[in-house]
Structure formats: structure tokens, C-alpha cells
Symmetry: C2
């Protein structure tokens, strides 16, 4: 009960702070005595801080307000992707306190050396912020993930890798880093750090193509956590070979390996324009299937699709209009992501912070 | 608060009844006095009934148990489909008390005469059960539906039909019947009256093809209620024309109009076998996209697909294995529905009953 009330008070502070204890009592329905005792616990855990209330127009003696503290608790976000490794530390207020990205060729790699390099990067990043207490770590991987294992990350060439089986797993707060799908975490990153609405399908355009569906501020993960594999939706039966072992998947048409660069498109290169049209049409076809099945409130194109958006979006929109016009009042709006390729590593940290906010008692 | 506690007690009776008042107090955490008072209200509303407890192995004086009552409150399910109209009355215990189906050619029809005929069918069905109080009605329509209107039902030829605008809308308990998508209601029908698990994608194979995703016993409806349009998922860009106005949709390959009959398949007719293989491959392709996006716990083929299941399923399974094998541990299991073509009309009634159980105070 106390754990639930701690979460209740912290949730109000996170959602609407700074707030006085009196305001918190009113919002939560708890007594002022209970709120004061809970706030004392949150203060000593370093989750909140006090500041003098200095709002204009407030009547009576100004009280002391409680806000989230960025000085103590933070989260470690990690990412292995095909062309780079990334780590970031985000504090409880959502401020990025440290971040590092290094180029790396992780194509067809072995997990052990890649994760050892990530471990070093994590240690360096953590060394930048020695005063922060890291509540946990989440690792973004471009592949299908279940529990503590990567089922298949086709571009990395990883299959059935159990992260905790490695000789030196990355451990934070005595627990190994949790693994999650890159696109799901990027969707969360866009939700927390971007400007997207609370109901959208985030499309992650990297070497692989994935998606994460955010509904009412939460992530839709599927029966076994494998929802959102947009990259392997059928574009054409018997189409080009895909890294997943099948054929004609979206990824074979619209993954980074076959996308033109924005410079070539800006220079009106005809080959680049044709490649963009082909990728845009394939993306439109796969997204029309996704809209028919998921009915997202909006579609947000992220990652490598962001700089290509001005050229790619018209092709995508044309297919959505062509295929969806008759069945629904209008296709969902198509937007570029406000976050860039760092959406996933930021989302990984956000995942940890969400857990802290939902269950502050678990911090110990 | 009282409304919520009424729902709490009724929910326990529905989920685990019959139960004594003492057991209900233990399960809900409410006092015995409160439970007794709530049960009195539920008894007078006709939602529950009393029966002497007669269980073997129970210690002490046998009490009186409370169970759902089938004698008073019921729901009206209605359906307009391409080839028939249907109505049913289901009581609170889930027993079908009256049902009628009439053949009708509703292809390219006008809504007014179709709904007038349905109105007569509803009246006849209700006349069979004069002692039951009908708590509400829901109407299943094969098309996209939002709020109180049908956006587009391609096979009926209905577009932007507002049901309450009709001169003589079907009204029950002073409210017009609510409209819902046929496949969503059929999924609910299979959940309540079939043998499916609590987490599955129901595929409704009628003249149109639709789907409803049941997750943890609830229906996933999408941002605007238009999720589950499996029939318009892309099978082949530029494929055969679909009634929706687009091309190459699943429905153009696997709708009832192009499906062979089970008799022809049983007689080893080569044309029928080829049509079945084509439909099965298309269904497999669309379902592989659906599994990649939604990650359902199981796939249940319903409606016209039930009698075809022995011939259709191997083709579908082959594509699912081919396309999904590498990315996930295993494709979801493929099952025939336990309900038949009446899944939607039963689900329509179940929708009303769920509402009564969730908010018994609204009965008035």
C-alpha cells in the first residue's frame, strides 16, 4: 500500500509538478500527514527535491514545492546497431547528462566482442557522471527479443543470444541490462523526447526497418513481445531476398542499404529519385496493411527516414490515399520524427525511468 | 462507489459463481453487510438469483449461494450480412433464448428497407421471449464503423450511413442499437461462446474478410475503432480489383465469392483444389503480415473458413512457416473457430451483456 502511494505521489509530481504537499494531498486524496511522510521518503531516496514556490497570483503564504530531482537518480540507455554503439545517461527529469556514440561495423558479428566494446563505452559514459545513481540499464537491439534473449537480429547475424550467458554481462544496480527491440524503444524515445502525439505508429528506418505502436502513451508489445515487425510485412510475394530468410519483405525495399542519400536526392539524381520512389511505394504498401490492422492515430517516420522525409513522404502518402481512401474517413497523418537516430538509446533510458516512476519503492 | 461495488460483486458472481455472500465478501474485500445490501439490489434488478448451496465436501451449515439469473435480463444481437439477416436473444447466463436467421440478398442494397426487414425480424425474435427484459441491442455490419455510423460496407454498397438518421431505427431500452464491425463482434462471439484462448486473432471469412484481435479477453479496436481490416491487407500490389476500390487485397483472393465449396474439395475437384491453394496462400501472406505487426497468441479461422479448414489450413501454415520461421521461435498456432457463421450475432449480444456486467447500475 505504501509502495503504491509512493508511486501515486511521485506520478503526480512527474506529471504536473512542481506541487506543494497540500496540492499533492488534494490530487491524490491522501491526508496531508501521509503525503508529508511519503514526500520525506522520496526526498531521502533522491527522487524529488524541494524548491520555494514562487508562482504569481497565488494567495496566502507561499509554500515549498516538490519537483522531480535530476541530481541523484538516472538511467543508462544502451544500443547495439549495425553501424554503431551508443550509450547515454538520462536523469529523472529527462535531461540527457552524458552520451557517447561510436561507429562500429557490427554486421555479421559475434555478440561477445560487440558487447564487450559496449561495456567499455558504458563505463566511459558512466564515468562522466560519477555523482548520479544509475537505477538500471536497458539495451536496444535491432532484432526480435523475448525475455532476456535476442531471438534473431538478422543484420547483426545474431541468433538466440542470451545476454546473461555472456561471461561479462553489463550489470547495473546488481541486475544485468534488460534487452528490448530497437524500434519499440525508439517509439518510446519519440514519445518522451520528441513531439509526437500519444497515439502513433513509429517507424524506425535503420539498416533494418521496425515499428513500435504507442497507444494512449503505452507500448503495444503483442502476445510474446514481438509485435511491430513492420520490416517483414509482405510487399511482394517472391520479391527480393530479405536478410530474415524470406522474400519481398518491406526491409528489402526500404532498408538503409537500398535507400538513396538526401544529398543525391537534393541534387535531383535520377537514380536516387527512382530508388526513393520504389522505397516510398513499398513503405506505403506495408503501412497501408499496418493501418488496416492497427488503426494508429498517426504515423511517425523516424531514424534514417527523417532526412529523407521531404522526398519519401509524397510517395508514401500517395499509396495510403490510393489504398485506404474508401474504407475510412481519412488515412492517418504522416509525420517526420522529432528525434533522430538516437531515439532508441534515449528510449532505452526512458524505459528504466518509467519503471522507477511506476515503482519508486523498488529502488531500495 | 456503490455502482463500482455492484459491478465488483456481479463480476465475481459472473466469473466464479455460484458463491455465498461470505465468499463474495472475502473475494471483494467488502464487509458482509455491504455485500448483503449489494446482493439485495442485484436480486431486485433480476441480475442474480439465489440457490441453496449443495456442494460436496463443504464444512458447516450450507449457505445460500448467489448465481447469475437467466430469467430476467437479456440482450438482443442483430446482424446484417451480404446473404442474410440475423437476430438473437441471449440471457445473462449466456444461454441463447431465441434466434432467427433469414436469407436475404443485401448486395448493393439500400439501408432503409434492409434495416426495416431486420426490425421485423427483431420484433418476431423478441416476441418469442416476452418475459425477458432486453438491456440493449448491438448490430453487426460487415464494414468499417465509427460511433453511430457505417463508414463503408463495400459488399452491401453502404457508405456513410448514420443508423440513427433512419426514420424507424431499432430502439431497445429507449436507445437505438449500437453498430459495430462484424469481425470484431465475431471475435467476441468466439471468445464468449467458442473454445478459443483469451489471446487470439479471429479471422472472419464471409463475403468480406475481417479480423478482430482479442488480447487478454478484451478487443483491440484501434485509435478510431477501425483496427482488424485484414481483408484489405496487401497480398499483391496491382492484383485483382477489390470491392473496396483498391487492388490486390486479401479479400479479392480469399473472400466467399472466390472460395470453393467443401463438397467440391471433398470430391477432389482439381479446380476447387487450385482455388483453395490460391486462397490459402493469400491468407498465409496477409496473416504473416498480421503476425509480424500484431503478434497474436493464436490465429482462429472463422465463418466460411470453418468447413474449409482441413483443406485451407495446410496452405496457410506453409506460408506462415516460410515467412515467420526465422524471426520468432514459432508461428502462432492456427485453429478453426468453434462458432460458425453466427459468431457475429452472438458476439453482438455478448457486447451488450458485457456492458451490463461492467455497469449493472446503468440498468436503472
Amino acid at each position: 500500500m505504501r509502495a503504491r502511494n509512493l508511486a501515486l505521489v511521485l506520478g503526480e509530481v512527474a506529471g504536473g509538478g512542481p506541487l506543494t504537499r497540500a496540492a499533492l494531498a488534494e490530487l491524490t486524496g491522501l491526508t496531508k500527514t501521509t503525503v508529508s511522510s511519503l514526500v520525506a521518503d522520496l526526498l531521502s531516496a533522491g527522487l524529488v527535491a524541494e524548491a520555494p514556490a514562487a508562482r504569481a497570483g497565488e494567495r496566502g503564504r507561499p509554500g515549498v514545492e516538490v519537483r522531480l530531482s535530476g541530481e541523484h537518480v538516472a538511467a543508462l540507455g544502451l544500443e547495439v546497431n549495425v553501424g554503431y554503439l551508443a550509450a547515454c545517461v538520462v536523469d529523472l527529469t529527462g535531461t540527457v547528462r552524458a552520451r557517447r556514440t561510436v561507429r562500429a561495423d557490427n554486421r555479421a558479428s559475434r555478440p561477445e566482442p560487440v558487447l564487450a566494446a559496449l561495456h567499455r563505452l558504458a563505463d566511459e559514459t558512466l564515468a562522466d557522471v560519477p555523482s548520479l545513481r544509475i537505477a538500471g540499464a536497458v539495451l536496444a537491439v535491432p532484432g526480435t527479443v523475448g525475455e532476456d534473449r535476442v531471438h534473431h537480429a538478422p543484420h547483426l547475424g545474431w541468433r538466440d543470444v542470451r545476454i546473461t550467458d555472456l561471461t561479462d554481462p553489463i550489470r547495473v544496480a546488481d541486475r544485468p541490462a534488460a534487452v528490448e527491440n530497437e524500434a519499440n524503444l525508439a517509439a518510446l524515445g519519440e514519445l518522451e523526447f520528441g513531439s509526437a502525439p500519444r497515439d502513433f505508429l513509429y517507424v524506425s528506418g535503420e539498416t533494418g526497418v521496425g515499428a513500435g505502436l504507442v497507444r494512449d502513451g503505452g507500448l503495444l508489445r503483442g502476445a510474446t513481445g514481438l509485435a511491430g515487425e513492420l520490416g517483414h510485412v509482405v510487399v511482394a510475394d517472391g520479391g527480393p531476398a530479405c536478410r530474415c530468410g524470406s522474400r519481398g519483405c518491406l526491409e528489402a525495399y526500404a532498408g538503409q542499404d537500398v535507400l538513396p542519400g538526401p544529398a543525391a536526392l537534393a541534387a535531383d539524381d535520377p537514380g536516387a529519385a527512382a530508388a526513393c520512389a520504389r522505397a516510398g511505394r513499398a513503405l506505403g504498401l506495408a503501412l497501408s496493411s499496418a493501418v488496416n490492422l492497427l488503426d494508429p492515430g498517426a504515423i511517425v517516420l523516424g531514424g534514417r527516414y527523417v532526412p529523407l522525409f521531404p522526398w519519401l513522404a509524397p510517395h508514401v502518402r500517395a499509396v495510403l490515399d490510393e489504398r485506404l481512401g474508401a474504407l475510412r474517413p481519412a488515412p492517418p497523418v504522416l509525420l517526420p520524427a522529432a528525434t533522430g537516430p538516437d531515439a532508441a538509446v534515449l528510449g532505452a533510458a526512458a524505459r528504466v525511468l518509467r519503471r522507477v516512476l511506476a515503482d519508486p519503492a523498488s529502488l531500495g
